[in-house]
Each structure stands twice: as C-alpha cells, then as structure tokens.
Amino acid sequence: MSLDKTEVQKIAWLARLSIDEQDISTYSDELSNILGLVESMNSVDTNGISPIAHPLDLTARLRSDAITEINQREQFQKNAPLTDAGCYLVPKVIE
C-alpha cells in the first residue's frame, strides 16, 4: 500500500493534524513504508479466528449508579488555555 500526497492530506485532516506542506512527501514515504510492514500480516490465513480486543477475557465491570466525584471545575480549568465564567472558550462556531 502506498499513500500519495492527497491521501496523506486526507488522513492528516481526519486526525486534525496540520502538517507542513514541505513534509508531506516525507510522510507519504514513511507512512507507506509502515503500511508495507503492516501488510505482512496478510501472509497468514486468519479465516475463522475470532478477533480479540484485549489480552484477558475481561468483561466491563459495572458499578452502582452513585455520585462519587466532587465538582473540581476550578482546579481542572487551571490547566485550560482560555476560560470565562467556568466555560472553555473556543473560536465562534455558529454565526
């Protein structure tokens, strides 16, 4: 599998990553090489093998529906780049 420049740009957009124009061809080569490595998976027939997402057969634990966390908004927002009146600020989304 080889990725051309348009595909690299598309993936970068899907991942919301700005990449420099001059780096695109390097990414294109590197990502193509990595996908080439990954494609060696095709050398084995996995028909009928169930996929596992997790090494141990764990099921998600349930807990009682009780409030355990306290409100720490102020403390958490100390790390925020821009807040106002307890809200996170972002550029205008709706005109």
Partner: protein, 484 residues
C-alpha cells in the same frame, strides 16, 4: 550509599545509619550533578522530595514505616503527579500541572516513598530510543554516545547511573524491558491489569502497563508490593489476589522447566548477544532448571499486528488533546478546525504524528477489516502460541532486545528499523503476559538483557527466578564508569 539497592537502603534507614532527609539530599546532589550530561530528568522535585523525606522520617520515628518509607524513587513523567508538571515528554503537555495523582503515585505516597523527580521519556511513550522526547535525548551512562532505549529511557539511565535507586516505567511494547536491557538494570512488565493505569497517560490502552525499574529482582518485588493491586478507577484492572512478591524470592528453582523459542534465537539476533543469553540460561541450568526448545510460530507477525493495534489506540486516545481543555493551544486560531489542527500540529512531534496518522488510516472507513480486525485476529494467534507453549514449560527465556545500545541518531530517521528492534518484546504485550529483563552480561562494554516471560499473574515466579539468577551472577552489580 548511592550504590545501594532498595533492600539495602531499607535496612540502612531501619537501623538509623542514615535518615531519609540525608539520603534524599545525597540523591538530589547526584541528580543535579549528572542530569546536565545524561538528561534523564525532566523535572527534579527538590522541594517536594525534601518535604516528603521529612515526613518519612517522622513516620519512621513514630514506628509507622513500611520497607520503602523514606527512599527516593524517580517517576516516569507519564504518571500524573498532583501539583507537578506532567509532560509525557511532549510539547503538548509542557504547561500541564496534573490536578490529581495517578494510583501508582498515590500508593507510593501512602507508603512514604520520596518522589525525587520525573524522568524523561519518548514523547507519549512512542519510541525505543528516548530520542522522540520534546526535552531532548537521554544518554546511556554506559556510553554517552548511545541511547538508553525507550520509552522509559530516563528511568533506565537514572537507575543505571544511580541517580535514583529505582524508578517506575511503563511498557506498551517493551518500554520497560528494552531500556532495562540497554542500561543494565532489572525491569518488570507485570501482567496486563496488575498495576493500575489510572492517571498513567494513555498511549495504547489494551497494551499499557506500569512496572518497576530497579537494580535487582528483589527491589522489583519490594516495589511491586507497593504498586500492584486492583483499582476500581481503572476499567481493566485485574481483580486477582495480589501476592507478597518477596516471599518466594529465595525458593529453589530446581526442576524449573524453561522454554527456548527457536524464533528468538534465529536470524536478526546478534551472535554476541545470543552467547550472553545462552550463558545466562546455563546459569539457570546449574541451579537445577531444564530447557527445551519451543515454538512461537507467529512471532514475526507480532510487529505488524502491534503497529496496527498500538497506533489505532493511540490515535483514539490522543484525540483528547484538542487545545481547548488543557495542553498546548496555537496562537490566534481563525476557527475551531484551525484551533484543533494547529494546536495538535504544533504540540505533537514527528513520531507521534506518524502513529496518529497510521491509526487514523487503519481505523478509517473501508480499511477497518483489512487492518484492525486482522491485527486482532493475529493477536489471538499470538496469545494462543504462548498458552500452548506454557502448557509444557514454566517460563520462556530469550533475549530482551536484538542488540545492545545503539548510537544516538543512528535510527532516528528510520522508523521501520526502530520498530523491528522490538521483536522480542511486543508479542508479550499483545498477549498481556508478565515478563522481566535481567542483566546477563556485556558485549563491547554495553549491557545485555535476558528476558523471562511467565504465565498470567506469575510475577512472583519470574521474580524468584530472576533473584536466584542474581544470587549466582554479578552482572546486575556493575555500575558504569564515572558513576561509581
């Protein structure tokens, strides 16, 4: 004093030969003296460490000390530490002060352990050389022209140079064991779920596991006694009884059955490394172990499967870095998309971007079955390989890494070669098994590690074997020149 193990320091504190404040000052001095050349710390916590040391001394005076109370231990900068910068080796989190403690940190604090500093690492734990860190490369104290391995390279370098008697690390594809091997220390990756992931910044959640990086197996057992255990705040934490990891250390290993995977001793392994590991295995045979050749036929597929699963999970986990709630934010975003794209583009380094893009690609519409599903099927095969092998043998032994420490900048522009160097470690993460790397000798004055892989939750047995090996050998006692 700085040549002492955790066990020895524990005795020294217990018998009042030294107190925690004196000990902490001694290590802080070493950190300050050598960090400029080795770069193994991102943050040295002088003020906090001294406060914790004083508290530990009071705890001990009141008769409330546990074995590690008052001993300085370094923490990989992937563990959130309340009130202290937690960068994960990234520009993205250069300004991040963690608002809470990771469970591992909480447990260490509760045991009165002194948090001496936060160690350097590959950015978001993505790398095998520590060169992807935003804070610069870490040097290997055995040869400062070489890398310490990664991603827990700062921890490995700090312990090898005795700037800290022990450290924490995390292991997603070998990030505890490979740097332990390259720096000549002991590193244990516990069973997936054994040590809580809460507050450990996520890279690939189904693979990530924290563990100890120490001088000896005995020290790793002492640390495991503090950090292992169920945690309801980690959704995949194991609800499995926790051993006292020190009780079996002195058991005989007479009759132990060791499997030697033929795939681990084949093409791609440096013959000098093979010799070191074979000599190590002979030592275990002298102690009564028997060996047989085994097969792990899907070993080669572990690298491609890993480089689908890990980037896929990474692209998902790292989507939280949006420039809105915490972390780096670009200047003057013109709209929301620009804010996301530029904050992430500026905040992440090259290797992280590569992995996010691979992850986004393999998870994108139309490609899921060919990549992610296929990798999960191969993961099943790899887990079965180990389970079949472990029916006949107690543990599996082999090399930890394909080579010794390589030169700085040697592989930085060749991601594929770097990825392939993880051959003996990634399959263990895919299977979720515990494994330990112990020093097994030197090739051209650079350390070589031997890896022992056990069945689920058999950390005690691995530590027992490693401890018996270390009673019979001296490799783990060697200290790099200039740091004695």
């Amino acid at each position: 004093m700085h040549q002492s193990t955790l066990a020895q320091l524990s005795t020294a504190l217990e018998s009042n030969q030294i107190n925690s404040e004196e000990l902490t000052r001694l290590y802080l001095e070493r950190c300050k003296q050598f960090n400029e050349s080795l770069n193994c710390f991102i943050t040295i916590n002088e003020e906090l460490a001294l406060a914790q040391a004083n508290a530990a001394d009071k705890l001990r005076a009141a008769g409330n000390a546990s074995p590690l109370t008052g001993i300085p231990i370094a923490q990989k900068d992937i563990f959130c530490t309340k009130g202290i910068k937690t960068s994960c080796g990234s520009k993205m989190l250069d300004n991040f002060i963690a608002p809470y403690d990771a469970t591992v940190i909480e447990k260490m604090n509760a045991a009165g352990i002194v948090n001496i500093g936060k160690t350097n690492m590959d950015e978001f734990a993505m790398g095998s050389s520590n060169e992807t860190s935003f804070y610069g490369a870490v040097k290997n104290p055995w040869d400062q022209d070489t890398v310490p391995g990664g991603s827990s390279g700062g921890s490995a370098s700090a312990v090898a140079a005795r700037l800290s008697p022990a450290a924490t690390g995390t292991d997603t594809g070998g990030s505890i064991r490979q740097p332990a091997s390259l720096c000549g220390i002991t590193g244990l990756k516990p069973t997936y779920g054994r040590v809580s992931r809460y507050g450990m910044i996520a890279f690939a959640s189904s693979l990530d596991q924290g563990g100890p990086m120490t001088q000896t197996a005995e020290d790793a057992a002492l640390m495991m006694n503090v950090i292992a255990g169920f945690d309801e705040r980690d959704s995949t934490s194991a609800e499995h009884p926790v051993d006292d990891y020190t009780t079996k250390l002195n058991d005989s290993i007479d009759g132990l059955k060791i499997g030697l995977p033929k795939e681990y001793f084949g093409e791609g392994l440096d013959s000098n490394i093979a010799k070191c590991v074979e000599d190590g295995i002979k030592e275990l045979e002298k102690l009564g172990a028997t060996c047989k050749e085994i097969e792990l036929p899907n070993t080669e597929l572990s690298i491609p499967a890993y480089y689908v699963v890990a980037p896929a999970e990474c692209s998902s986990n790292l989507s939280r870095f949006d420039g809105v709630r915490f972390g780096h934010r670009c200047e003057d975003p013109k709209d929301l998309s620009d804010l996301y794209c530029r904050s992430r583009g500026e905040g992440f380094g090259k290797e992280v971007k590569r992995r996010i893009m691979i992850g986004a690609y393999v998870l994108s519409a139309g490609y899921y079955d060919a990549y992610y599903l296929k990798a999960q099927q191969i993961r099943h095969l790899i887990r079965d390989d180990f389970q079949n092998a472990l029916k006949d043998v107690d543990v599996i032994a082999g090399p930890t890494a394909t080579g010794t420490a390589f030169k700085l900048n040697e592989m930085i522009d060749d991601p594929i070669s770097m990825y392939l160097s993880d051959l003996y470690t990634v399959s263990v993460n895919l299977a979720g098994l515990p494994a330990i790397s112990v020093p097994a000798g030197f090739v051209n004055n650079l350390p070589v590690g031997m890896q022992l892989i056990g069945n689920y939750f058999e950390e005690s047995r691995l530590l027992n074997i490693a401890h018996q090996f270390q009673q019979a050998t001296d490799h783990h006692k060697a200290i790099p020149g200039g740091f004695e």
